[in-house]
Symmetry: C2
Subunit: 188 residues, 2 copies
Amino acid sequence: MNLKAERGAATRDRVLAIATRLFADRGYDDTSIETVLQESGLSRGALYHHYAGKEALFAAVLEATERSIGAQIVEAVRGIDDPIETLRAGTLAWIRLAGDPVIKRIVLLDAPAVLGWERWRAMEERYSFGMLKAALQATGAIPAQFLDLHAHMLLAAVNESALLVARGGDHRTAEAAVEEFLRRLLNG
Amino acid sequence: MNLKAERGAATRDRVLAIATRLFADRGYDDTSIETVLQESGLSRGALYHHYAGKEALFAAVLEATERSIGAQIVEAVRGIDDPIETLRAGTLAWIRLAGDPVIKRIVLLDAPAVLGWERWRAMEERYSFGMLKAALQATGAIPAQFLDLHAHMLLAAVNESALLVARGGDHRTAEAAVEEFLRRLLNG
DNA sequence: CGCGATTACAGACCAACTGTCGGTATAGCA
DNA sequence: TGCTATACCGACAGTTGGTCTGTAATCGCG
């Protein structure tokens, strides 16, 4: 179990990279399996051997993207001790990442519609949302009964400002607005 | 120009109602024009005469839904003078409305992905977002430079809590959380 | 080594779907 | 009374996602 497994993994990675680019450029609906096949030089049978279908392929793309985001955010807050400072640094890092059209389109726009809100949330829970909730709890500023809901709302708010930046808004203003937003929430 | 125009309008309305139900039940992707045709008894040519395509049909459904939401929110805040009270009543009304699976699926989940974020935003601007921004401004609690961004973030946060309720969360807790969220934001 | 099992991959094929197009009928209007 | 615009029809084409049978090569085991 070596040569075969490696070849399989390599193929999956290649397809994943190509699919990521296509999904980000054209969106889920306007990306056809046919195109993925052409660009990867793979056959239909091969692709369906590795991925159960278009939706599963998208889910794999999303998972890989989320994982990468998570790693970059962890990196951004490394070495910061103060919880509030961690929260701020993390959210700002996330906003900057979400400026990337790939992330915008795949994670924020298509994912909820394609996978359904439930599965999308479940994945976010394992990545960005989970981190944000922990950081928010660490600040101690939010009563326990509201923690989960406020974490959800805060993440949605931050995502929204990320989308605004991606649309072409000024990212300095957006970052200032997010900091102000955070300040108000934590002071309450 | 009377009998003909009436017939046309009636047909459009009938299709719109059927499409709304189907889009809400199955989502955009899993709703086929074919099904709309069958359920409405209309022919392909007729449908494409009234609506340019599937996306245009969805846009029409969305527009009608947004209009209805707007009217209901206006109704909910009628007679309230205090700006902060207006804002609270409006957001709570919106949360309750968004509990409706039709609204959840069409307006919050599929619309951004189907129409693209830009066109979705443009439509929200004319309805819920426009109203929320005005209400927020009236409270005078948010500095002008952050007004637009904070209105966006607040709406996103409120939408998120509406989605959580729709998933099956306790709506009392959610409403309390939203009120607390608002209080913190406005006090800042 | 040898042989069955598993895995990677190929490509023909199918059912379903969206959108087009030429055509018909009828209401409104000059 | 004819001309135009509108409502509606249904066959058709092109594309799409997914299935299925088949092939080759590698792996694991006796």
